[in-house]
Symmetry: C2
Subunit: 708 residues, 2 copies
């Protein structure tokens, strides 16, 4: 079966015929850059064999063929002008390296080095390390412009576990998915295998992703039934040679719902036995099963608190069950209560007292911000605060709050802003990345998760440029030191073109795109102004009687006749107290607080004066307008590059940009007209005035349906 699949995918991307419909992701544009100083190797030697080495061999043969239009010969020894790939157990290769440099590579790291006689060796401690090195080598040939004569690359990933979270339901829908139905054809599995599965595994492996949580965190207990576990096993078998481990989201009440027990109390013996049996069943099918993600006592889902137990009780019971198999529990910290005075404080308040109470194979999965994947949030104060608990970031690749797959919003900058945030919890340079990668605290597990934006759309992600967010997540999970701009250029080169002008212009657009979205949606620290439920479009006025107040925009913007913003300073909810100094003082003081977070932490009067001499109201008007102007510039830039892009993708992106501009204006007009009912101030005359009336905008209903 596996050979059959290789054949399918192999022919597709080695054919030399690009489809140019986005289906080939970052394998679309395979060519070396003009100034490349690397010649094509004349020979390949791959001394070892395994399913993974079979992939390595195929990738190199077809990749070099595509890059240099040459059929590279296979040989069986180290030849001059040759390329060799193998593991450190291969003495012929490892003798070229020092023991110490090989040992630091761990499981996934690799070295690519050109030795004497112009032989380039890709070496790792595992087959998978060799695979990652191979993808690096091929990417390097396409994107490097440092003009070095020889390879000398050593890479070790930032995180051990680099995981995609699919919020895919068993019925084929995807929660917060904007690229069509789920790629998992549950009905057809395990009998029928979609060729997309291996393309998926290959795409992930090529950027270093090594885990996938197949189902939604709002988990259907049925996923643990034997029927579904057999489907899962099939996927795990397909993914294994690519190094993609399978994980599942579980429903905490599975023992009662699925197992017929009267309780799911984690301290109940029968419950534990049920889980032990279930684990045994899973691991008998999938010996390298990764573990569980658990969303418990969150947004109405069951959890240990239903039985008077703590999150630690629940997580530890499951951790004990998986421990002997090497499985882990990713326990989500996304909890909040409609009765609390500030949702942004609640995860910290609930989990901080449990610090040190979790098993070693539990890792708390914490969203980047304290609320929920907003266009901009400060980092969650849990990062750095839990010094005796292992934490992993949960990032959102899918654009739930960022215009779905209609808006071009490159998230590399958002991810980097978060990873680079200094928590100061262990002195300066206690950045989120160093807190979570094991540099600051000695964590036995390190991990990072990204909520996938993948669906059955022919271009995978709904928007050609949304692929870049999947790509950027993978690249940063591998190496969080990479710059967002470098990643953007890398992706553009592999996906679209090597044209310098194109690269400069479009990497500029990508780099600016997230800030543009912040500007036209929620500038200056505003957040959660979007439409009810679907989270698309502006509804700052949204009031639904009986609704949870913490699901309504007014809870967050708190606009009134005096001003706007959420007072989280020491005179308000005091959420600032959850941050370490000097951040506490910085966030607590409007004069020091970064302007981009001003209204996140402060309720300020409409006439509050900013450092640039504008009052708050005028600055809001400027920022919203600037966001619109930025989209116009994206549109104009894209149009100017028409000759450098294939017609299909040019038109697709052009259409999306037209939607984005229309909706940026919608956001600007709706928010400004709404806030104006409180500020009673004019929109500065040099800015475009709204073309709609507030009442009309309020009448607009979002009837968008998902792609299919």
């Amino acid at each position: 079966m596996i050979i059959f699949l290789y054949f399918i995918t192999g022919t597709q991307w080695a054919s030399g015929q690009n489809k140019l419909d986005g289906s080939e992701l970052w394998f679309t544009h395979m060519e070396t850059i003009e100034s490349a100083s690397f010649a094509c190797p004349s020979f390949i030697w791959i001394p070892q064999s395994s399913p993974t080495f079979t992939i390595i061999h195929k990738e190199l043969k077809s990749g070099l063929n595509k890059l240099y239009n040459r059929e590279v010969k296979d040989v069986s020894r180290l030849n001059s002008n040759g390329l060799c790939v193998g593991t450190s157990s291969q003495k012929d290769l490892s003798s070229y390296f020092k023991k110490e440099e090989l040992s630091v590579l761990g499981n996934d790291g690799y070295i690519i080095r050109t030795t004497g006689n112009n032989v380039t060796i890709i070496i790792a401690n595992t087959d998978l390390g060799a695979l990652y090195g191979t993808y690096h080598y091929l990417r390097y040939l396409q994107t490097d412009n440092t003009h070095k004569a020889n390879f000398d690359i050593v890479e070790v990933p930032s995180y051990q576990r680099r995981i995609l979270n699919h919020w895919d339901n068993l019925d084929g829908t995807v929660e917060r998915g904007y690229a069509g139905h789920s790629i998992w054809q549950w009905k057809d599995l395990p009998q029928k295998i979609s060729p997309g599965y291996i393309e998926y595994a290959r795409a992930n492996a090529s950027i270093g992703i090594n885990g996938t949580v197949l189902n939604n965190v709002n988990a259907n207990p049925a996923v643990l039934s034997i029927e579904y576990l057999k489907k899962v096993k099939t996927l795990a078998d397909i993914f294994r040679p690519y190094g993609i481990k399978v994980y599942l989201s579980i429903n905490f009440s599975s023992p009662s719902v699925l197992g017929g027990l009267t309780t799911a109390d984690p301290l109940n013996k029968d419950v534990r036995i049920w889980w032990q049996d279930k684990a045994k069943q899973i691991y008998s099918l999938i010996p390298d099963f990764g573990g569980f993600v658990v969303k418990a006592n969150s947004e109405g889902l069951p959890g240990p608190q239903d039985f008077g137990r703590t999150h630690a009780d629940g997580a530890n019971m499951l951790a004990d069950v998986l421990e002997s198999y090497g499985g882990i529990i990713m326990w989500r910290a996304f909890v909040y209560n409609p009765n609390g005075n500030d949702r942004a404080k609640q995860a910290y308040n609930e989990f901080k007292p449990l610090d040190g109470k979790f098993r070693k194979n539990v890792i708390l999965q914490v969203k980047n911000g304290p609320v929920d994947f907003q266009p901009r949030e400060p980092f969650s104060p849990l990062f750095g605060a839990m010094q005796h608990t292992t934490l992993m970031p949960e990032l959102q690749i899918t654009q739930e709050y960022l215009g779905f797959s209609d808006h071009l919003v490159y998230l590399g900058t958002l991810f980097k802003e978060f990873l680079n945030s200094d928590t100061y919890t262990n002195g300066r340079n206690s950045t989120v990345s160093r807190i979570t990668d094991g540099s600051v605290y000695d964590d036995s597990i390190t991990a990072v998760a990204g909520v996938a934006n993948i669906g059955l759309d022919s271009n995978w992600c709904g928007h050609h440029f949304a692929q870049a967010n999947w790509y950027a997540f993978g690249r940063l999970a591998w190496n969080h030191q990479l710059s967002a701009r470098k990643i953007a250029k890398e992706w553009l080169m592999q996906t679209f073109s090597h044209d310098q002008d194109f690269l400069n212009q479009m990497s500029g657009v990508m780099m600016e795109s997230r800030e543009a979205t912040v500007n036209y949606m929620t500038p200056l620290g505003l957040h959660h102004l979007m439409g009810w439920g679907h989270h698309y479009g502006p509804e700052p006025w949204c009031e639904i009687s009986g609704a949870r107040p913490d699901w309504l925009p007014t809870y967050y913007h708190k606009a009134d006749s005096i001003g706007v913003g959420f007072n989280r300073s020491s005179s308000g909810s005091n959420a600032v107290s959850q941050y370490a100094e000097p951040l506490l003082s910085v966030y607590n003081d409007p004069a020091l607080c970064p302007e981009e977070l001003l209204l996140w932490f402060h309720h300020l009067p409409w006439n509050y004066e900013l450092i640039n001499g504008r009052d708050l109201w005028s600055e809001l008007c400027y920022r919203y307008s600037m966001g619109v102007e930025q989209v116009k510039y994206f549109q104009c830039t894209w149009n100017s590059l028409q000759s450098k892009v294939d017609k299909n993708r040019f038109n697709d992106v052009q259409n999306k940009l037209a939607i984005q501009l229309k909706e940026a204006i919608w956001w600007r007009d709706a928010c400004l007209l709404y806030f104006q009912t409180f500020s009673h101030r004019p929109i500065p005359s040099q800015l475009d005035q709204p073309k709609s009336k507030l009442e009309d905008l309020k009448e607009l209903k979002f009837l968008k349906t998902h792609h299919n």
Copy 2:
């Protein structure tokens, strides 16, 4: 003589004929606002008499006449619908007030209150307090729109001494003056009295300024000759009824240069005797003489260090000499040494060790920033650091580094940014204003100085809008809690028009104007890029062989192939260490440092990524371009208001804005083209590209002569 002068000025501004050439300053446009709820009083009673009360009487009679076109009757008792002005010694008036509320008024404070029978009383403890109350009353009628039915105003000034520093030379030139020659006609004094002297005193008194340093801090010793002292006495006599005290800048070597002694050593007995004799002579002519300003051991001027003595030795000797007369010494802290590694650190390094060593009647006069009146600087770290020494801020009203009198740059925002800066030296809310006004430390003297922008030009300041900076300085010296926007509107209403659209538009322009200048001159914390000597126009490339390095732009911007900016962090000059926490940490960390000070504290690579997704180079390009766009918007706004402004002043300002736009472009092009020789990056294509070549811009010589 005084009566003669009153006559001259009285007729001028009571004539009802406005000149509309700017000569009448903020007395140009006297009318009540449309919505004013105050009726004109029917009677005036001024029970006391003195030169100051004569002024009060005249101001009220002519002011009310102009405001309501009514001749208000004088009466000699408290009449219904009457207005009374007097001091607390007047029992008929003081009986309406509590003792405690009168005692807190001090020397200069006042109450304006409407009591029963619709009688409004302006009361103070001194004649001058009553004068300030009178000006407040008249201003209030013109500018208040709170629609209150009755007056109930209590005002006590923020600073005791509110002083203009004239950098006027005895030869009639003005250092850094851009509004023509000095208003002091030294040759003609004391015989001939210019009517401008009293207009000057009146303008200052109307906004609360109560002191003037007549001559340049780079002082000619001759000012202390008996010949000049007699001239000074004449001015002091004219100013006295308006409450303007006279001060002089002295040259530290006066005892030798003027007195013929062999030394000016402050510890030398003969030197002390010389100063004692000189003081006696001064005070016999001017019994209320204010004191001395001293620029010593600064930029080549003599000082106590020439004799191995400290600044404290020098200041204390002079302080002892003036002490019995009630005089003070304003000792400037503007010292720096070409051999130091960072000019920004030097005043602190030199003066901090002397903390606590100064006499009570010495006050250190410290410029707002640690370098020199740049478009933007952080506050000088001396503020708050000298807990046992009295400090006063020196602000610059004249636009030495801000386009002279050619650029519309409202400095209210700059002054406020500085005054509101939190030093954190005594916990939070240790703002510069509270550090210097006696709120944090119990200072026996409080003072603030502004370097005047006044000259013989018919509109006093060269640019009609430069008058607003004089006005704003005075208003903030009186009440540093006023907002820059309120002051701008007040000034516009009194100077130009009450038209709401005009006020909103032009206060918007004023509020934004300083940031625009920062953008087109020195964005992101850059500083000192201006032309050599004259300080006009861009010369970031300026190299003059043999010149002091700390007078050259390269010392400050440190542009190189890697990046740009002055590393004052702990890895550089460590100037950040002079600030208290949390500022130290904030300034020390590029991620926390406010963007507007980024390159003040850090040398950052051209590809350094800002939070908005742009790299440093692109952001520089954007900021420079935004500055130009802002000036275009000022120009466009002004043009749209043509119908609301008299023709003369409309044309004057229009012409100045044309110069400003041309020069904003000059700044942008020169700086970007110059920095581009280091960054080797293109100016983003969506921005205007420079129209000039760098070589041509370098050839431009600044041949501007002063107005005359």
